[in-house]
Structure formats: C-alpha cells, structure tokens
Symmetry: C2
Amino acid sequence: MLTAKGLATRGRIVAAAADEIRERGIGVVTLDDVGRRSKTGKSQLFHYFPDGKEQLLLAVAEREAERVIEDQEPQLTELKSWAAWDEWRDVLVAKYRRQGVNCPLGVLITEIGRHTPAAQAVTAKLLTQWQHRVQTGIEDMQASGDIRADVDPAHAAAALMAAIQGGVAILMSSGSSEHLEHALDLCLDYLRIRPS
Amino acid sequence: MLTAKGLATRGRIVAAAADEIRERGIGVVTLDDVGRRSKTGKSQLFHYFPDGKEQLLLAVAEREAERVIEDQEPQLTELKSWAAWDEWRDVLVAKYRRQGVNCPLGVLITEIGRHTPAAQAVTAKLLTQWQHRVQTGIEDMQASGDIRADVDPAHAAAALMAAIQGGVAILMSSGSSEHLEHALDLCLDYLRIRPS
C-alpha cells in the first residue's frame, strides 16, 4: 500500500512519462527523461516501478485509458436528454478530429504488445467502463420515456462501442471523421426512432 | 503490360506468398520460400517484382483485400431481400469468428507500415468497394420499398463500415463476436424500422 504522498509521487512520475511520450514519441523516451521531468531520482523511480520501463509504460497506458473517459466528461455520465446525447456526440467527434492519427493509448498498447494479457486488460477495462456509462444513459432515457422500451440497453451500448471504435480506426487511416459521424448518427437515430 | 501468361505467373507468385504468410507468419517467410512454393526462379521473381520483397508484400496485401470482399460473396452483391441481408450478416460473423485474432490483411498492412501511402491506398480501396456494395444493397431495397426513403444510403453504408470495422477490432482483442453482432443487428434493425 502506498501512502498519500507515495501515490502523489507515483502519479507525478506517470504524468511526466505520459507527457514525454505524447510530446516526443514512445521510441525515444528513456527513464532518465522521465526522472528529469518528474524531478525524481533513479532509486525513487525503481521504488515505484521495480520492473522498470515496461511496468511504467503499463501505468501510463492505464492513465491514458482513464483520459479517454475523462475527455468525454461531464457529457458521458449525464446522458439524460437528447441535447446531452447530441453534445456528447459532438465532443467525441471533436476529440478524435483533434487527435487525428496520433492515438496516445494506441501507441502504448502497441509498444506493450497488443496481444499481451496486460495490454488486453487495459483495453477491456476501458471498453467496459465506457460501455457501462452509455448503457446507463440509455436506461435513464428509457426511464424518462425518451427511448422506447424494446431497445436492449446493453446491446445498443455494445453496438455504439463498435461504431465508435471503427469510426476512429477509419479516421486514423483516412484522416476523415465522416465514418465516425455517420456511425454515431445512425446509432442515435436508432435510439430516437418511434416505430409505428 | 503483362501477357496473359505473365499475369498467370505473377498471380501464382502472389498466391504462393499469401499462403506462405498465412501458414508460417510474415516474420519468417523469405523470397526463397515463395520461389520454392510457386516453382519460380529468383530471376523470374525479380522480373515481376523488381523492387523485391516490399513490392511483393504490397501485391499480397492487394490480393488479401480482394479476398475480404470475395469471402462475403455471393451475399454482398445480392442484398435484395431481408433474407439476403440476414444471410450476409451471418456470413460476416462466421468469417470473423473463424479468423479470430489472425487478420491476414492486418499483418501485411502492419508490415508495410500502416501510415505509408501504399498501405493506405489498399485499405482505402477495400473500404470504398465494400461500402459501395452495401450502399447499392440499400438502394435496391429502397427501390423495392423495403427500406424507407428517408434513409441516406451513403451515410448508412458508411455507418455499417464503421460498425463492422469496430466490431472486428474488438473481436480481435477480446475474442468475442458479441460487439460485431450487436453492431450489425442495430444497423440492420435501423434499416428495417418503419417510423410512425
């Protein structure tokens, strides 16, 4: 167990590593760079990350995954009206347009090894948390009568996750947010529709 | 311009390379392996691929991209009834479940370099062809009155591409086809719905 001070130091190291990697690229950042930026000595670095760079990269990946959610707040946890859903949709599109081809989490997952259990745990946790918030939004809208009762909230939330994931992947390859926008719009239209 | 015989030889080399890579992995396959399997001498290999392995890998990527479409035929070009759409949906899910975490096109694109113009041209062409076939299917269903007229065929086809791409990406990371299935089902439900 880390003390509050220990947690703060660890957080400072992770934040410094995340910033270094975002600014200079994962290929060139060393533990010395991270130590310099976080004003932490080598022995302190190894106190918090005894397994070295690999362990630090995993902590940075976990932090970047949290930021994916944070970047969508407060909208993501307040999906209680159509105006809120539309705002969330616009926040998402703007976030990924700004990000372009550089996905801070993606480079870390690639570096750690996409198929390693550690990397998969990070992406699985992010997916679960994200999807759960969307599902809660759908449930809230059903409770207020804004979404029809026959929509399965878990299935629709899973579909939205796939749509976002695919839209972002295409944006990262094509440079255009077109697919992401059409995918989000189709899902939101689906939730809005009142069948006869 | 290649003669018919030249085209056949080139095709045999590409097919041999594709099979070698699928079976043994891109990291270990050499030009000698491809020559042996296709019964082609080194001088012939370099006649068709003067720039060597890199040029051959690009040709294999183009071939694998064609196979992505072929794997969905004849369903993909015959989306003229709801039964046909459901069949296509099942063919897609079965294909990607079978494929699991091993995407033959993906490993080539990664090897060539995801952000190189050559790799992006291959994936862009695949996306365009695939999306165009889906769009034609939606237009056919609108012509027969099976899909409501206010659906934009191009936008809905783009959304389907994002949904598939994202569903497959999650399948490759999680091992489950759940997201792919829910995403396809939501899009098909959306196309089917008759608003009041």
